[in-house]
Symmetry: C3
Subunit: 108 residues, 3 copies
């Protein structure tokens, strides 16, 4: 079996979980946070049969979209003490980042 860990944006998580459970997949949801933007996101954990990995990835791709975020970097203070706020930095946050691991699953 394979354990899939998928980091997705909060806005996509609920629809994605609904789609996965409608297709009969079992899924566990964990709250997480991005290291760079420090915004809340969601890590989904699903254990599936090996041949279900690609169908699951297809469902994830369908329900997660790329978004552009604007981050204002720390403004450099000019020598003269004047303050020039730099243009906000554009950051692309992808649809999903997916990790696929080999795992043995047991239902107790």
């Amino acid at each position: 079996m394979r354990l899939i860990l998928a980091v997705v944006q909060s806005q996509d998580a609920t629809n994605l979980v609904e789609a996965l459970t409608e297709h009969g997949y079992r899924v566990t949801r964990l709250s997480s946070q991005g290291g760079f933007l420090r915004e809340g996101n969601v890590t989904l954990m699903l254990s599936v049969e090996d041949q279900q990995v690609n169908p699951v990835i297809h469902i994830i791709r369908e329900h997660c979209s790329t978004r552009t975020r604007y981050v204002s970097p720390m403004p450099p203070i000019a020598e003269s003490g004047e303050f020039y706020p730099p243009a906000p930095l554009e950051v692309q946050v992808g649809g999903a980042t997916v990790f696929v691991l080999r795992a043995e699953t047991r239902k107790l």
Copy 2:
């Protein structure tokens, strides 16, 4: 070594963690949520020597019980506009779902 991830019901988590630490196992607890019932549950993470996997699974089995949950599915609205609330759906929530992965562990 093996990394064990066990999704257990919240009601069983505290007693189970206590039993695992009393047996000398190290364990980390993460809050999680079931995808289907959308109820809070707990994901336990333990890294153990290969030969400790079965004793740990035995402790998990002893402390986690199956429960029946009743979920009221979305009621279908009849043609006549009358509302027939369907019988609640019975869902068995198992004792625990356990994933066993190969991992290398380092203490820094």
Copy 3:
């Protein structure tokens, strides 16, 4: 690729995440709790190329320190009913506990 899971103390987590992202690493942060001390800690998840495992572990080691915690164990009630509070137990909490797993990573 390798998936690194590192359990670190809350006090070290923010500086460590900052250092990892400054070095260009992608990282996801999950809130967790220690099983023994029941204190909040942080589980970091990073997927990296195989040859980046040791440089990442070096950064973790640099930003995480060992601390001593004092825990007052349950006091035994003496026969005479008198209450002798035992000396607090000294517990060393390490810098970090790191799990390294083989994983395939896909960006959707």
